[in-house]
Symmetry: C2
Subunit: 143 residues, 2 copies
């Protein structure tokens, strides 16, 4: 996701010797490919998706997110939340209390993404057995 560098600079430095290749594609042009990359940088890593899924229910506070998402480090939780907030997918609300309480929730934009993400999740659940079968067959072919 390149969270860290992404946060300080708006774009990934892609300077490369690519001439606009003549490749035809029915479904998207070169610009669309850039959009995809942007979104993939947002939701292409597991943490973003898991956070979005966890926030689907409503507002969740920081420590509850940490508990709800096993294996995530404080660092990545904070970093990913900040990234999602920066992109307008997540709202952050801090309450001036002691002890401090901060709640995160999906914005309308985030919710609209959730729908698509859930479809991907459904696809995953439906096909993961078949995929595993393919992978195992591939790995043990003529071994």
């Amino acid at each position: 996701m390149a969270v860290e560098s992404e946060l300080r600079r708006g774009r990934t430095n892609v300077r490369s010797n690519v001439r606009k290749a003549p490749g035809p594609c029915e479904h998207w042009n070169d610009d669309s490919a850039d959009f995809i990359r942007e979104i993939l940088d947002l939701v292409g890593d597991k943490w973003s998706v898991l956070i979005i899924g966890t926030l689907a229910d409503g507002s969740v506070r920081y420590s509850d997110l940490a508990d709800a998402i096993p294996g995530i480090s404080q660092r990545m939780l904070t970093l990913t939340l900040k990234q999602l907030q920066r992109s307008g997918l997540v709202d952050r609300t801090a309450y001036a209390e002691v002890p401090p309480r901060v709640e995160y929730s999906l914005t309308a934009l985030g919710s609209s993404l959730l729908a698509t993400v859930l479809e991907l999740a459904a696809w995953s659940a439906d096909r993961h057995v078949e995929i595993r079968r393919h992978q195992h067959a591939y790995d043990t072919r003529e071994a």
Copy 2:
């Protein structure tokens, strides 16, 4: 994507001291989260998605893929194709000719994923302006 290690070993080594956290989630359980991770490892990087999109039209040969996807290195093209083939999303057909010709195409499984991916692409195209606006506002707030 962890292509390299993923190709030799079936799973990413995740051994960590996570107890099955009590986190409730309306949309998926801990196992589903694993599925998501698997699929994200497959399509969570830009190259996989771009390759799948390019293969949407039909069979495409190796060098044409390289031309159609600006910026991809030979290494990543080969590696990603192999990964997709391993998972049963892509078919590889080699023709015994001189010069050699190898064509790649989506399997039925791959096509079914394409549909979901296209939705994500559409979402990206629809919202990327809004997202950029959020990001810019965030970056320049009280700077």
